[in-house]
Structure formats: structure tokens, C-alpha cells
């Protein structure tokens, strides 16, 4: 099946965007861009709202969008931008309180606005398929994989006897190893990456003209994410299927899409080819998104903020010395243990940041918890400023706690919903009986000021704050006792990209002002680069590489570090650009550099090395 392939089969070449690169004088934000080729989906002035408590809360406003056969379109937006609502409207899967308030939805030439489920479901499967967001919950837990793929196959009217063979083929095409065996398994027996491949197999099994991929990999590790996205893109290219990617990551969009649509608060900000959007963004918001996407703002490279390669002169504040941690597995065998950490040695220097990087299951959180004294290590020792705190009880550790504090990953659960902001920030002061009521209130005001929140926020509850604001409160609380060291456990991974950037800037400023040291745990190298002086890369409980950020992030010695670096989205686009044009890389980052990085921009662009990465899960 080779559909009309007007946009060219080769998305990696610089001319991939050629045919539909409309002139810059086209008003792209007002009317839908009409690419050549047969129109599959057309949204015209679509507005969607949700009925809530008798009110209609708008989610999508005056959205016009066209997807033609064979093209890949990416809709980019932060949470609340309405991008998922748009996708659901195309699939006819709006929740029961969703209402189309204006505009038209046209699928394959038929107006399906407000059509009954009976009509819409004729189109789902053979016309449009879905790759849902979270592979962990996207599959029916009580049904075998084969049966779930089989349902999609049978929709095409395939003879019952031929279904198993087709199922195996679909799984194989989606990159599932041992398809015959996998078909007999249940979803809980598969890893997240494999489940996502099964979901892709289901979407492909209906032979649709269009696949809607809703944040298809945001729940997966970066390296897995990259492999799966590449695979999906190549499958779509081979079969001539159109692809609509919904993503929050401009880098993901830039790397793969023929056309990028930027959305914000239910409206389209602008749309056009990736080169157009990224090189000549017309809107401030797009510029802002580009500036905060690490790979895009630095021409494809991950650029560390701190460039010194010298060993730090300040005293070591925290030292982990050959730390190991074993977990007993729940029965199942004779004293079987799982080694979460093995021989991990780390040093955090006063006033500096150690970035601890690893994918899920690498042991980075365990390392942090051991360093915090929240869990005892099985082997090795933990030193805090010369004091051995290995296995110290809470009460012996308590005096030391004033000197090191923690900021949690999720600001939505790390603040007590019953406490006001002021109470939360002052709590460590109350616990340690620091000052009286008046001096604590003064300290709270000072801290709010430091994290750039208005003083009036002291009386608010967490529910009245946004995610970024909550994280600021959590940071203020951690700073209340003027600690020397703050542990940051993925402090920005629950936040939108533009908010991420602000929190990172805040953390960097606080370090400059207060001289506080950070142990920064993250799965995201680009985020770590914004803060770390030193970097350690964890894999399977072992440190594979460590050293100054300037060295590890720009000239990695280990394959795993390189793989992590290459998986940062947006590089392919940047590399294409660098190969095709002679523009200085600085031009990819117009507008002020919000990261506040004074570091030299423009390291040697790495060649696109990911093509060789295997497709097997």
C-alpha cells in the first residue's frame, strides 16, 4: 500500500519540507494550510468545550487544521493547550461532556460534526487509528495481546482462519520480538516499550489512512522513546499513512514532522513547516518554546551551563563511598536479591551541583534516598561534611537535617493540601523551634521573595497555585533552614517545558546568591546540563561515567552516555540544518536565551548517529 506521497518519502533530507513550504506571506495562523495531496482530515473553525457544573469550559477555540494523505503533522502545545481535545475530536472520542460548539470536522470528505457513534466507528480502524498516550494503561489487562491485535485485524473483514498470521505479522512490523509468543501473553508480562509497540501494531493492523499518536512515548525512557518514534515514523513512511503526532516537545515535532502546528490555550499560535516555525517564528510564544527546548536552542547539542573542567576547589560536602543496595525480592526463591546499587561513589562539593543522570530503574532515586539517610545502604558509607551518617537513625540525624534538605519530584503531592503556603514554608522552622512567630513570618516573606512569589501568596493553599508555583514553594521550604546542600529529586519533570526552564533558572540563581550545593537527580541530560558542575551517569545501579559536566556532556567516553545524549529530541532537525545551510547555529535560537546561559554556544555539531540503533524492543 503506497498512498499518494506528495511530501516525499525521505523525511531526513533537508528538502523533506520543500513541497509544502508555503511562502512566509501566507497567513498561516488564520486559515488552515492546505498541503497538496488528498485531504484526509479537515477541521474548520472547530471549537470544543466541556460541560462542567453547568458551565461550558472552552478547550479548543476556532481551530483549523488539515491533514493530507501521507504527511506527518505535529501538534505542539503545553498542558491545557487543547491538543489532546483536538485529537479526540478527530477520532470522535470526545468524553461525554465534550461539546462541539462551532465549526466542522470533515473526515475523508464526509462532514462528521456531531455524527452518531455508529457513523464515526465506521471510520475508526480502517480510516483513522490511535496510538494512545500511556502504554502502561493502554491495553486491556485481562485479554491476551494476540486477541487485542486480532480485534483490529478482524475489523477489516479478514477471514477468521487468517487472523493469527496477520496478528503475528502486525506485531513483527511494529518491532515486537517473538510475535508468536507475545501474542499469547498478557499485557502485564510486557515492558512499557513493548506495550507501546503492541499499541502501534493495533493501530497499524486496521490499515488506516491516518494514525493519531497522542504523546505516544512521553511515559517511556528517552532512549526507548527515540527508538519507538523512529520506528513509527519509518512504518508510516513505508505504508504512506498520514501521521498526526500530538506532543509537548517541539524537538520531537521538529525531528519528524512535515508540518508543525503550535497551540496554546485552545488556539493555534502558528503553523508551517518545521524550518519555517523554528527559524522564522512569528509569534513570541513559539520563540519562547524554542528557547526553552534545550536541543533546539543550542543547535542540537546539550550545552552544559558550567564549562570548567577543573576539579572543584571547595570542600566536599557529601560523599558516598562504595555504596551498594540490595533489595530482597518478594519470596519466589531462596534469598534472591536484586542489586539496585553497586559500588557507587559520589562527591558533592559546597556551592556546586552534582547531576546524577539515569533512566528508570538505574538506581538514581535509591542513591538519593540513601544519601538523604532515608534508607540504609547495604554496603559502603555515606559521609556528610566529615561525619559518617551511614545508617544513622532519624533522631541522630535530626541535628544534621538542618544542613541538608529535599525538593520532591511532584509538587502536586509534596505540599500538604491543608497547609497554607506560609505554613508549609515555615514548617521546618517550627520543627526546629527557630525564632518566634514574628521572625518566622518575616523569614517566610523573605523566602517567598527569593523564589519570586508575591508575599501575599503566604495565605494561599496549594490548590490555588499552578505546578511551577508549587515547586517554588517547595524550594522555599527546603531553603527555610538555610541548608548547605539541597537534594533535588527530578524537580522539574512534572512541569511544562517553559515552566521547567524558569525553575532551573531560579535554582541556578539561588545557588549563585546563597552558595547552596545541589545533588540533582534527573533522567533528562538537557535539564541536568542547565545546572550541573559535575555529572555522574548511572546505569543498572552502577556509575558508567562521571566527571565535570563540560567533559561528560560534550565529549562522552561511554556509549550509554552518548546514547542518552543522542536521544534528546530536536537534534536531527538541528543537524539537518547545520548540514544543509551555512547559517551560524546561533540563529536557531532567536530571542533572549531564557536559560540565562552565558556559556559558549556552538560546540561542534554531532552527526546524526542514531540511525544505526536497532529497532527491536
Amino acid at each position: 500500500m503506497t498512498g499518494p506521497n506528495a511530501t516525499g518519502p525521505n523525511a531526513t533530507g533537508p528538502n523533506a519540507t520543500g513541497p509544502n513550504a508555503t511562502g512566509p506571506d501566507n497567513d498561516v495562523s488564520a486559515s488552515a494550510v492546505r498541503p497538496p495531496g488528498e485531504t484526509l482530515v479537515e477541521l474548520a473553525g472547530l471549537s470544543v468545550g466541556y460541560r462542567q457544573h453547568g458551565r461550558l469550559v472552552p478547550a479548543v477555540d476556532d481551530l483549523s487544521l488539515v491533514v493530507a494523505a501521507g504527511e506527518t503533522v505535529a501538534v505542539v502545545g503545553e498542558s491545557g493547550s487543547g491538543k489532546t481535545t483536538a485529537a479526540n475530536a478527530i477520532l470522535g472520542l470526545l468524553p461525554s461532556n465534550g461539546v462541539v460548539t462551532a465549526g466542522r470536522i470533515t473526515l475523508a470528505g464526509n462532514d462528521v460534526t456531531g455524527a452518531s457513534d455508529r457513523v464515526l466507528r465506521q471510520l475508526r480502524g480502517p480510516f483513522v487509528g490511535l496510538v494512545p498516550q500511556d502504554p502502561m494503561v493502554g491495553l486491556n489487562p485481562t485479554m491476551r495481546i494476540g486477541a487485542q491485535v486480532g480485534e483490529a485485524v478482524r475489523r477489516r473483514g479478514v477471514d477468521r482462519r487468517l487472523v493469527p498470521a496477520e496478528v503475528r505479522e502486525a506485531l513483527e512490523r511494529a518491532g515486537v520480538d517473538q510475535p508468536a509468543m507475545r501474542a499469547r501473553q498478557y499485557p502485564n508480562e510486557l515492558s512499557g516499550g513493548l506495550r507501546q509497540r503492541v499499541l502501534i501494531a493495533i493501530a497499524l493492523a486496521g490499515h488506516p489512512r491516518l494514525i493519531v499518536a497522542d504523546e505516544p512515548t512521553s511515559a517511556l525512557d528517552v532512549t526507548v522513546q527515540r527508538r519507538i518514534l523512529d520506528h513509527l515514523a519509518s512504518l508510516v513512511r513505508e505504508s504512506g499513512t498520514a501521521l498526526l503526532i500530538i506532543t509537548h516537545d517541539l524537538g520531537v515535532a521538529a525531528d519528524r514532522a512535515d508540518r508543525v502546528v503550535v497551540m496554546r490555550r485552545g488556539r493555534i499560535v502558528e503553523q508551517g513547516g518545521p524550518r519555517e516555525i523554528l527559524l522564522h517564528p512569528r509569534e513570541d510564544y513559539t520563540r519562547h518554546l524554542i528557547s526553552v527546548a534545550p536541543a533546539l536552542s543550542h543547535a542540537g547539542g546539550v550545552v552544559p551551563r558550567h564549562t570548567t573542567t577543573a576539579t572543584p576547589v571547595s570542600a566536599p560536602l557529601l560523599r558516598l563511598d562504595g555504596v551498594g543496595k540490595d533489595f530482597r525480592l518478594p519470596r519466589g526463591g531462596e534469598s534472591r536479591t536484586f542489586t539496585a546499587l553497586d559500588d557507587v561513589s559520589l562527591t558533592v562539593h559546597a556551592g556546586q551541583t552534582l547531576g546524577l543522570v539515569g533512566e528508570s530503574g538505574s538506581g538514581k532515586t535509591t542513591a538519593l534516598r540513601i544519601a538523604m539517610g532515608l534508607e540504609p545502604p547495604t554496603r559502603g558509607r555515606v559521609w556528610l561534611d566529615g561525619t559518617d551518617i551511614t545508617g544513622a537513625s532519624w533522631s541522630t540525624l535530626r541535628p544534621l537535617r538542618r544542613r541538608f534538605q529535599l525538593v520532591h519530584q511532584n509538587p502536586y503531592s509534596s505540599l500538604d493540601p491543608h497547609f497554607t503556603v506560609g505554613q508549609s514554608i515555615a514548617e521546618p522552622l517550627v520543627s526546629f523551634r527557630v525564632g518566634d512567630r514574628a521572625s518566622r513570618a518575616a523569614r517566610v516573606r523573605e523566602l517567598l521573595d527569593q523564589v519570586a512569589l508575591p508575599v501575599s501568596y503566604a495565605d494561599r493553599r496549594p490548590a490555588e497555585l499552578s505546578g511551577g508555583q508549587r515547586q517554588r514553594v517547595a524550594i522555599a521550604r527546603a531553603l527555610a533552614l538555610s541548608p548547605e546542600l539541597v537534594f533535588l529529586d527530578e524537580p522539574v519533570s512534572a512541569l511544562d517545558v517553559s515552566v521547567q526552564d524558569q525553575i532551573l533558572t531560579l535554582l541556578a540563581r539561588l545557588q549563585d546568591e546563597l552558595g547552596v550545593g545541589y545533588l540533582f537527580v534527573s533522567h533528562d541530560l538537557a535539564v541536568v546540563a542547565a545546572l550541573a558542575h559535575q555529572v555522574a551517569v548511572l546505569r543498572n545501579g552502577r556509575i558508567v561515567e562521571s566527571g565535570p559536566a563540560a567533559t561528560v556532556l560534550t565529549a562522552p567516553a561511554q556509549a550509554h552516555t552518548r546514547e542518552l545524549l543522542d536521544a534528546v529530541p530536536g537534534q536531527r532537525f538541528a543537524a539537518d540544518l547545520a548540514g544543509a545551510t551555512v547559517r551560524p547555529p546561533g540563529e536557531t535560537a532567536p530571542g533572549p536565551d531564557a536559560a540565562g546561559s552565558g556559556a559558549a554556544v556552538g560546540p561542534s555539531l554531532k552527526s546524526e548517529s542514531g540511525a544505526a540503533v536497532g529497532l527491536k524492543g
Partner: protein, 316 residues
């Protein structure tokens, strides 16, 4: 898997033993004067008895043994299904129970399918019907069923279907017609509870992401409900069903009293009214045993129906 099975079996036995202990403590240790309690239940007026007569009576019921001896003796006998003599009727507890158990079983066997069909049917409809007023009405119905006292439901049915319409007899135990009203009464509460749980479970399951996957394949609502929703939504209900099944004897107490059926429930009521300690003890233990056995079966059923539980069971 055999390991899991053995573990669950041992657990069930331990719970039963503990239940026996609890009941023993309540009946034999808690009363200020257990001997008076039991002997007066046997129809003897203690103030009228001579010490010798008292001694003979105590000896007959084993009441002058040390409490621990009584405990182990009782436990040993209970393991052999020997619950001793009834204090109020001059027969063994075992024979009383075997006499009455048939009537209760008969009632339960009719009530159970009614309960399951009624509960699942109502929930299935409430979740499938799209027309709002009907949907709301169906969804509210179980809340009423759960609130009405069982004896009130029974009396209402008697008033309506026996005294007014003369369709079914109000009391008695002859033929299937006399079973209808008690069985409906007995099943109503369970059906309402099942429906209440299932309606919420259905709603929750419909909102799960994997349902979007199924609908995106182009399956119809009916197919999705049957193949993807029903099974996942029923798993929590299975636990409740186990509990409801385990409550058979308990349910029978009220229903048999209202409809004057001569089963285990009536026996239990009379035993308590007569403070017939051995009889009460035996009936409570049987009720607990029924509960434990049914729930053991439900747990094993889970490993067949839910691959995640099966995986956990295999892991130990």
C-alpha cells in the same frame, strides 16, 4: 502456584481457628457467670438446686473443667464436627443442624441466581442505556434497595403478593410457590449491593485508557462493553459476591423469621432467645466457615480471571 494454593489454604484454616477462639472467648469467658447462664438456659433454676444436683449438671455439660480444658476439648470436638448437646432441646447440636440445613440451602439456591442476575442485569442496563432520565433512574435504584431493612421488604412483599394479590403464599414450605417471596426478599439486598458496586465499576472502567484503544479500533459500544468492560469491571464485584455468598446463613435469620420457614436462621434466632450456648457457637462457626470457604474459592477464581493476580500468585 501449588505454593500459593497451600498458603491460602493454611490461611483459611488459621482464620477459622481464630474465629473459633473469638467465639469461645465471647461465650465462655465474657459472661460474668457462664455456668448460671448455661444452666438456666437448660431450664434449671439454680436457686432451687442443691449443690449435688448443681454438680451433676455441671459435670454433664463439662462446665467444671478448667477453662483451657474446655477450650481444647471443644476445639477437638469441633474438628470432628461434634458440637455437643443442645441446652434447650434434648438432642445433639449436630442433628439439629442437619435437620434444618436443607430448608436454608433450598432457599439460598433459588435466591443466589436471582441476586446475581438482578444485580448484574441492572448495572449492565444502567451503564448501557444512553437516555439520561432512564440512566439516572436505574443508577439511583440500588441506593434504595440498600437502605430498606430486609424485614420491611419481606413484609411489603407479603402484603402485596399474598394478602392483596393472592399470588403466592405468605408463609410455609410447600412447593416452589412458597419459595418465591422469601427468595426475592433474600436476593434483593445483595442484588442492590452488587448493582451499586458494578455501576460505579462500569463507569470507572469505561473511563480507562484501554477502552479508548478498543474504541479506536472501530468496535461498537456493545462489543466494547461486552468484551472489554464487563470482565474488568466485574473483578471487584467478584469479591463482593464472595462476601454475599458467605453471608447466606446470616441472611436466612431475618428472612426465615419473616416467612416462618424452619431453617438454620430460625434455629439461630431460637438459640439466641434461649441462650443455647453450644447451638449458637455451632451456627456461628458454620457461618464463618461458609464465609471463609467461599472467599477461598473466590481468591482462586481470581487467579483464573485476572492474569495480574495469577502472576502475583506464581511469584509466591
Amino acid at each position: 502456584m501449588p505454593r500459593y494454593l497451600a498458603g491460602r489454604l493454611a490461611q483459611a484454616l488459621a482464620v477459622l481457628w481464630a474465629a473459633y477462639t473469638v467465639v469461645f472467648v465471647i461465650l465462655h469467658v465474657l459472661p460474668s457467670d457462664p455456668i448460671t447462664l448455661q444452666l438456666s438456659a437448660g431450664g434449671a433454676d439454680i436457686s432451687q438446686l442443691t449443690p449435688t444436683q448443681l454438680h451433676i449438671l455441671k459435670d454433664r455439660y463439662g462446665l467444671d473443667d478448667p477453662i483451657l480444658t474446655q477450650y481444647f476439648h471443644g476445639l477437638w470436638n469441633a474438628l470432628h464436627l461434634d458440637f455437643g448437646m443442645s441446652l434447650t432441646q434434648n438432642v445433639t447440636v449436630g442433628s439439629l443442624i442437619t435437620d434444618k440445613v436443607g430448608s436454608t440451602l433450598e432457599l439460598t439456591l433459588v435466591a443466589l441466581p436471582l441476586m446475581v442476575i438482578g444485580g448484574i442485569g441492572l448495572a449492565y442496563l444502567a451503564s448501557y442505556v444512553q437516555w439520561r432520565p432512564a440512566r439516572t433512574l436505574l443508577a439511583r435504584l440500588p441506593a434504595v434497595g440498600v437502605s430498606l431493612p430486609q424485614f420491611f421488604v419481606g413484609l411489603l412483599l407479603i402484603q402485596a403478593f399474598s394478602f392483596s394479590l393472592h399470588w403466592f403464599p405468605a408463609t410455609g414450605e410447600d412447593g416452589w410457590r412458597s419459595l418465591v417471596l422469601p427468595a426475592v426478599t433474600m436476593s434483593l439486598l445483595g442484588a442492590a449491593m452488587l448493582a451499586q458496586l458494578l455501576i460505579r465499576s462500569f463507569a470507572d472502567t469505561w473511563r480507562e485508557p484501554h477502552i479508548a484503544t478498543a474504541r479506536a479500533k472501530g468496535l461498537s459500544r456493545g462489543t466494547v462493553q461486552l468484551r472489554h468492560v464487563l470482565r474488568n469491571a466485574s473483578l471487584p464485584a467478584l469479591t463482593l459476591l464472595g462476601i454475599l455468598l458467605g453471608y447466606t446463613v446470616t441472611n436466612a435469620v431475618v428472612v426465615e423469621s419473616v416467612f416462618s420457614r424452619d431453617g438454620l436462621g430460625q434455629l439461630a434466632q431460637r438459640a439466641v432467645l434461649g441462650q443455647d450456648v453450644p447451638l449458637v457457637q455451632a451456627i456461628v462457626l458454620i457461618a464463618a466457615a461458609g464465609f471463609v470457604v467461599v472467599n477461598l474459592l473466590v481468591d482462586l477464581l481470581y487467579t483464573l480471571l485476572d492474569p495480574r493476580v495469577a502472576a502475583a500468585a506464581r511469584a509466591g
